[in-house]
Subunit: 428 residues, 2 copies
């Protein structure tokens, strides 16, 4: 058994988990998986991190290019994140003939093709299981076990921060601001929560999942994303009364030979397997033409869960080195499916709005919807006071384009005081 | 790309699904997975099955040994099941240097070591994803993605027949006999339901999962199994009142360096991820030291779901042939953990019994439990009539050995009319 030499760039949350797992289990991996993986060199801008992890000074550098240039190193683990220097480091490592393991969702979602082409050109592996769903096995199962399927849809709760916030809003009636403050206090949300609450993190992940599921490259910029900032406890309560929960879903479906992909708050039937996924947990739901419905559930973030996926990938690379089959399964994007405009979406819509409390209002609003071919499935009017009345409409299935046009016109009605939340309602 | 030639033995439910998938997707697999798999020969005792599938006469034989002896065939798919001729065919195929894909849980649970040794000796693959959980990816994820973990426990709902029956009993109050009759009428249960309702099917599956999870061989005969015949709607209703559901769980845990393994009806907290898995669905819940909690959910049986797993394995074998890395990951049972006696189990117990409706009964029964060191957590007494009273005890954590001794003594009390169901209550 030869020793596979590993360089690690980035000693943050996930990197420290990787050091920990390799420290505890290196001998187990040799015995159980037949591979000997040795962490020989680590790089981080902050030497204090290496000290805190007890790494010897000789195994540490503040210059990541030293790790990439080290001829002894077989595999580089990139855990810096982002599309700046991380991209340069990954491409340089691949060009140097080293396999790469990364947790970098932004890189894979924006530059996946470039990175995978570079790996193929050098005949090495690029594995990125940790980029989606933390430690949850999902990329491996889709590229291997489920490869026998024509995947019809892949969708999931892939952002733990927003799922925690929505769970707190649903279970204890917190409003958005309080839920965010609590998530930040618990370390589940960052000081600048934009990437999470605006759905950008989820958009990168679904771009990666869709590319694998449909064998057709989808990039981050092709994914329309709406976040959860506009949701209120009232919306969640209305949803509950109608038998739904509200989740920030990342959705990708194969529709008429094209890809329907998007991230937005979604009203989902309470009986759907994804509806019970609460707190910081993630789950990815995959429907294939043979396997039917499947779901993969677990902790979507955190040091050790994500490191579990990174080290799983590392062991797989080591097996490929041991058996001489590097670049074992590379890029699988052999098709070229079009990505649909979200305006072409057909679904139901929940619309909450504030109107004047006077006769004829319901008829006026319904008339506008009707003139755009949007029919109303149900109307709820609860409270009315001197400021007017709150009305909730749920449409029958309609095109997003028609609903948007109708809403623009409804907003201009004299009886409309304020437009509230609009949420897509899906029977997925 | 070379063509990988496949022989299929067994054209029953799963076999016909395999024929269907290869028929529809062979060109997709060549394009997307880079392997060309051709089904060249099928065997079944019943020629009518081949005709129904539209297989040409030249590609069919009633003699499976012809498939195994065919020098053109690279991979044999064994879908006969059982440990009789199936074992002989699998060993003969491996000895002839052919890789084998099988869905045979009985074979792998009873003769796994023999079969895996034979594959290693010939330097070929033996893959069996379909043996557990139908199409749900679980063996692949455990041998690859989760290989970085020390698995603490693996447990699941791995028998769809009994889960369907328990769901019907819970949701509509059916008794055992009616639930079984309905499952048989719908084709979810066989005319002889023994393997399902007595937990033997689940026992084979957890033996396989435990062997992989703990890297230590566990065989079918080492798994104590209790089925669901003794459960009544009353038990399910009591469970619900206490915040539990009753599931037939297959459980394997690593305890003090040994393996605790068993199949039995289990009272599980309603908030546990497995508690919401209803109907014919299966789910496997795995806890690892790094990944934390994960769960894998899907259809546990059926022609196409199981065939999805078989063809997934076949494509993996074809990739190994293409890349020259057969016997890629063979047997991973490198440890030798002891299997614990179930009498050493420590958990809580639900005990339903019928007693005389007279003063002092509760004290008498509690006294017996106490004399065996078993303390009672709660007591429910609901109905009493001329035949006596029904009492439900839930113990605090106690050893199975002590509880059994106590129950034997309780049964002999003069006030005891009849012992009812005993169910393990687990906070897993």
């Amino acid at each position: 058994m030869r020793t596979v030499r590993v360089g690690l760039i980035g000693l943050g949350t996930v990197g420290s988990g990787v050091v920990d797992i390799l420290d505890r289990h290196r001998e187990d991996f040799a015995r159980r998986a037949g591979v000997d993986v040795e962490l020989v060199r680590c790089a981080d801008r902050d030497p204090a991190r290496a000290e805190a992890l007890g790494l010897p000074a000789s195994a540490f550098t503040t210059d990541a290019t030293e790790v990439i240039a080290d001829p002894e190193i077989d595999v580089v683990i990139e855990l810096i994140g982002g599309t700046g220097v991380a991209r340069e480091f990954v491409l340089a490592a691949l060009a140097a003939g080293k396999s790469v393991v990364t947790a970098n969702k932004a890189l894979m979602a924006a530059h996946g093709e470039e990175v995978m082409d570079a790996a193929a050109a050098s005949g090495v592996d690029i594995l990125f299981e940790a980029a989606v769903g933390g430690g949850i096995p999902i990329i491996g199962p889709m590229k291997h076990c489920l490869v026998s399927n024509e995947v019809e849809s892949v969708m999931g709760i892939v952002n733990g921060t927003t799922n925690y916030m929505l769970t707190r809003m649903a279970e204890d009636g917190l409003d958005y601001a309080d839920a965010l403050a609590e998530a930040q206090a618990k370390g589940f949300a960052e000081a600048d929560p934009t990437a999470d609450v605006d759905g950008l993190d989820a958009a990168a992940k679904i771009a990666i999942l869709a590319s694998i599921a449909f064998n057709s490259r989808v990039t981050l910029e092709q994914v329309p994303a709406e976040g959860i900032r506009s949701l209120s406890p009232a919306d969640i309560e209305y949803a509950r009364e109608m038998g739904y929960v509200i989740k920030l879903l990342a959705i990708a479906r194969r529709i008429d030979g094209a890809v329907d992909i998007r991230v937005h708050p979604t009203m989902l039937r309470a009986s759907h397997p994804l509806a019970a996924v609460n707190g910081v947990y993630n789950a990815i739901y995959v429907v294939g033409d043979s396997v039917g419905e499947t779901m993969f559930f677990g902790e979507g973030a955190g040091s050790l869960p994500a490191a579990s996926a990174v080290v799983g990938d590392l062991i797989e690379v080591a097996r490929h080195i041991e058996q001489g089959c590097l670049n074992f399964v590379g890029c699988t994007c052999t098709e070229h499916l079009e990505v649909r405009d979200i305006a072409d979406l057909t679904t139901s819509y929940y619309v909450r709005m504030h109107v004047a409390d006077e006769p004829g209002v319901l008829a006026a609003v319904a008339g506008v919807f009707g003139s755009h071919g949007v029919s109303i499935g149900s109307v709820i009017q609860k409270s009315a006071d001197e400021t007017g009345a709150e009305i909730v409409y749920v449409t029958h299935e309609a095109s997003e384009r028609a609903v948007r046009a109708a809403l623009a016109e409804v907003e201009r009605l004299a009886v409309t005081r304020a437009m509230g939340t609009v949420i897509r309602v899906e029977d997925l």
